[in-house]
Structures are given as C-alpha cells and as structure tokens.
Symmetry: C2
Subunit: 363 residues, 2 copies
C-alpha cells in the first residue's frame, strides 16, 4: 500500500520545508513527529504577534509573525493576508527549498484500510517525484505506480508524462465542504479511502484545498499566491481556490502536471458553518463568473516563466474581473506585488533561479 511505510532515510530531507499557518500552540505536531521531525518547519503565525506559539520540543523551525512579515516585506507586506490562513503563502516565499508541503493544524495522521498510519508527506513526495499524465487519461489511474501501467490505446509518445508541479491530498473524516453543504449535511463524514492518485487533465480546473498540499517551488512557486483574504477583505476561504485556479491555468500552459488523490490526512474538526457562510457568500456567487474566466483564460506563447505567466494573468484578472467587484482590481494589484516580493526574496541566480524541469525518476 503506497504511502503507508516510514522509510529509514526521510526523502528529500534537505530539500523540503513544511509550512504551517497557525494561531495556536502546535500540539498537533506530536502525532506527526515520526514523519515530520526530520524536516524543517516554517510556521506562519497569524493574528496577534504578541501571542506565544508553543512548538513541541525537537522540531527544527523558523517562525514568522505579522511583525516579521511587515519587517521583511516592508510596504509589499500588503499582499500577505492577515487573520486568514492565506498568510501561509508568506512561508512559500521565504523558503529556500525546492519543495513545500503545507498542512493545517487541525489535520492529523489518518490510517489506511489496513490500519497503518499514513505517512502523508512521503506519499506527496512520491507524487511530486513521479511524472504526471495531463495530456491523456489513463483508466487504471497512476500508470507509474507499482502494479500499474498505461493501458492499451495510450499513445506511446505521451508515456514519458510531464513534470509534476502540485500534489493535492485528500481528507478523511471532515470533508472540505462549503458552508451551505456543511449546513445541509452537518453529520456527513468522509469514510471512503480511494486508493488512487490521478492527474487532473489539461484544460480542467479543480477546487484546490490548501489543507494537505505539496508543490515544487521551482516549477510553480511564484503562482502559489493565496490572495487577499480575511482582515479588511470582503471574502475568506477562497485563498486556496484562487491559487488552484491560477496554478492550473499556468501548469497547463507550461506543460506541468497536477495530481490529486492520495495521501489522506485525518481532518479533525469542522469549522463553524455560520462563520464560514459569512466569509464565503460573496465567493459563492463570484465563482460563477470567476471559473468561466479561468476556464477560457489563455496565456501568450512568450510567457515562458511562472512569473511572466502570473503577471499576464493579473492583467487579465484586472481587465475581466474588475466588473464583478472592485475587489478584483485590488487583488490584481496584489498579485503584482506578490511577484515583486517573491523576486526580491528569491533573486535569480540564487535558490530558485531557472526552473530546471525534469521528469523525475520515472519508474
């Protein structure tokens, strides 16, 4: 069973940061200790910067609160959300590693059907190191997985696949529902373990959840902006959705892959549906226009870097979505600020440099 064993030497130990946005003590890390302890954590403290966040002993971490963000980014700190877990994307920006895994602090270790603890991080790493298949659908799911392959009729020229930029993991127990669905089905729990990883085909958008998400910073980092949410903004809970739409359009343009499926985490606590409704309600009707916008968005051929793609997308957002609400003008500007801040913290030639696209180890 994939993702269910602890390897003796942790994969990518020095090439991956775990980013955790939080407002509370990080006791949840105790359960993750066997899997996370070898890795470096970047903790983004939201809310009151004077509050002390306790991190269990033995973890290697750096912690940023709002004062740190303001100090490091100066006026550009305006692009980082406050009082919303969207602030996590600051962690993506200050990381110097090739890979990021981000997880919410109400997510615990899930068990696979055999009862074994799922090493979510290990499965994400496998997903990222192994190619995706965005250009044709494989009916037996991930063709690179042991015991599987490409089925009859799958073009041989496409079997090398594409480099994987994003690995989107799922949730057992509390499913990631919107407020209306939470209200209608307060007791629904996700108990079905679907033993599959799949590539989301080119040209198809998906609702990306930030709860259990890994990505390759070099390939897609600058597009992984979680937008303007929370304090002073008209919406919340669309931070990961926004990032998901943007990264998918850009991955499709650049020929990169996005996977979803395994690994599962155990999502412990449903957030308050009434509070969520207040945060979401504008998004719920805005998305009816935003999604067609992203579905039809195309990027010019001369956009060859993620930054170029993202700036082009910000232009299109301003042009086409500002009519939906003035908020999108502000958001489009923040997208530009984000790229400026990203490039400032990640100058070319250091760290992120040029995207060195590779297909991973394959099979």
């Amino acid at each position: 069973m994939a993702g269910a064993s602890v390897t003796p030497t942790p994969l990518l130990k020095d090439e991956l940061d775990i980013v955790i946005p939080t407002i509370r003590n990080l006791d949840f890390l105790e359960m993750w200790r066997p899997f996370f302890q070898p890795y470096h954590l970047i903790i983004v403290q939201d809310g009151d910067p004077l509050k002390t966040i306790n991190v269990p002993e033995g973890f290697d971490y750096e912690l940023y609160n709002r004062n740190d963000i303001n100090r490091i980014l100066g006026p550009k700190a305006s692009c980082i959300s406050f009082k919303d877990s969207a602030c996590r994307c600051f962690g993506y920006m200050v990381s110097k590693k090739k890979y990021i895994y981000t997880i919410d602090d109400d997510c615990f270790v899930a068990k696979d059907p055999s009862g074994k603890d799922i090493n979510a991080l290990e499965q994400h790493i496998k997903n990222l190191l192994c190619p995706s298949t965005p250009h044709f659908f494989n009916t037996l799911y991930d063709p690179y997985r042991e015991g599987a392959d490409f089925v009859r009729g799958y073009p041989f020229s496409m079997r090398e696949g594409a480099a994987t930029a994003v690995s989107h993991g799922l949730w057992l127990n509390i499913p990631d529902y919107d407020a209306p669905t939470q209200l209608v089905k307060p007791r629904e729990r996700n108990t079905r373990y679907v033993d599959a990883v799949m590539t989301i085909p080119k040209g198809t958008l998906f609702p990306m959840c930030g709860m259990n998400l890994a990505f390759d910073r070099e390939l897609i980092g600058p597009a992984m902006y979680f937008g303007l949410m929370g304090d002073g903004q008209p919406i919340g809970r669309y931070d990961d959705m926004w990032a998901g739409w943007c990264i998918k359009v850009i991955c499709d343009h650049l020929g990169l892959g996005v996977k979803t499926g395994l690994p599962y985490i155990w999502h412990s606590k449903a957030s308050n549906p009434f509070v969520n409704l207040k945060k979401e309600y504008k998004g719920i009707y805005w998305q009816e226009e935003i999604i067609p916008f992203f579905q039809s968005a195309t990027l010019p051929k001369d956009c060859t870097s993620v930054q170029q793609c993202y700036l082009e997308l910000s232009k299109q957002v301003k042009e086409k979505l500002s009519a939906v609400d003035p908020y999108f003008t502000k958001l489009a500007d923040a997208m530009v600020t984000w790229i400026e801040a990203w490039d400032e913290l990640n100058p070319t030639g250091e760290g992120l440099a040029k995207p060195s696209i590779s297909n991973g180890p394959g099979k």
Copy 2:
C-alpha cells in the same frame, strides 16, 4: 459498498439489453446467472456461422451469426467487422432498448474487498442513471454517491451535472494492456480495487475498452460504432478505442457525460501478445496521429443529433486521416454506411426517436 448487492427487482429489466460477441459456448454466463438472467441477451456470433453456440438454459436471448447480419443489412453489412469482436456493435443496432451493457465472454464476476460478488451490471446502471460532472473536477470523486458531495469551490450552477451517456468499467486480474506491455510485463495482474467512479472531464480523451461497458443508446448509440477490424482489415484491437475517441468528442460537443471506474469484472485470460502485436502494430503508430486529430476535432454548432455529429466526424476522418493510410478512407465510408444502417433499423418515431436528454434522477 456500491455495486455489491443484488436488488430484489432488477433495475431497468425491460430497458436494457446485454450484448455479447462470441465464438464459443457461453458457459461464462453460469457465473453471471444471478445478475444477468432477468435481462435479455443479444449474442453476436463471430466467425463460422455454421457452428452452434450453446447458451446455458434459462437465459432469454436472440443470436445473430454472419448470415443473419448479411440478411438483415444486405450490402450495408460491409460496415460490420468479421472475425473480430468489433462485430458486437451489430447488437447495439438491432437492440430496441434504451440501454446496452456489453461484456466479453472471458470476463467473470469479481469480488469487492469485502469478498462480496460485484454485480457489475447494477453498478453500470447506477452510473448511467446518475449525472456526470464533465465541466469541473470534483476531488472527492462522484459527488452523487452516498456519503459524498461537491467540495468547497465547486460552482453551484454546475451541480446539476450532465446526463450520463457512457459508463466504462474496469478489470481486476488481467489488465487491458497493449501487446508491447503484455510482452514486457507478462505476469502483471491488476489487484488494486479503486473504490471510485469518476467523470472524464470535457476535452479529455481516454482509451475506452469494450470488455465491460454500458451506455445509453438513446443518447449516444449511433456513435458507438466499433469500426472495421479483423478479416480483410489492416488492424485489430482498435475497435473500442475508435468508438471511444468518437463518442468522447461527440459527448463533449453535446454536453453529455462519460464515466469510468467501478464496476470491476474479473478478466480471466490474457490474450496472446504475439497475435495481438500483429493486430495492433499499425494502430500503435497510427494512434500517434489519430489522437491529436481527435483532440483537436470540433463539431459545428448545427450538429445537434448524434447522427449529424457522427457524419460530420466521418467527413473529417476522410479529410484528415486518409493521408495516414488509405484505410481511413474506407473507415470513413463505413462510418456513413453504419449510420445509414442504424437509421434503417431504428427509424425516427420508433424506438430511438429523438434523444430525450435528461439529467437522470439526481440524488
């Protein structure tokens, strides 16, 4: 567990035919008796028409051999393949029912992870009666299934889904591999039961296998042509692939859904890879041009019936694929003959009449 229980009254008993192409006695039906016996079978006997095919007692069936096909279709019988399981599509044409399930005679009842026999037909019917979601990806798979729903960020305007035209089931034990993969991995068996049904997104092609396949004749029947294979033709084993490319382009155009995943059948016997290679090798290089052709194929807006779409597609095949091989000129002509024969056997006003598109019962 979906698809694993026998309902007291069989679903759609009088609205579904089971189509089986064969050259041998149908002993395999014994294992399917609890699930298939209430339904009507259409057996398409391939090869020598003088051979007698034994059908186990108690099944309600009609059987057509080559002489019958020639008698019924006259000169138009040229569009029905001989000495290839592609002949099964004759059964789709003579059926008067709304739904078709087709299965190969080397496919047996599989067991779900709890050890229970899987009623494949019942799961296909559920798949067909329940909408698809081709326009946006749902990360928790089929949102209409019990215990699941649309996740946060899924546009509410798209939650009605689309009518489902095709349900593509999978195979445990012998996977549906091409000859090169069979040769390289002779011992690979599919042992993973993935407990999911998913919609193949709009704009994405897939390799459709005819081994375990159900569809709605009214919605897509006239496009379910399995092409010219076998005797006198330069290729084999691309019958279902051809149908899969055609139906997907047409379903996308007409706003219909195509699902894949559950149910599994137990595929008992790997076919001979050397024989398969001989049948497939032209297809293996032709598909490198055929698939881009179908990926970029678009149908004009005024094609509103399946027949119109299919005739338009036949024109494009002739125009664009004849350069690959003269075979495609012949195939394009056979596509036209197929539609003529279909319309002759299914005159408007009777049986198939106009497609009455509905979203099914929903949830």
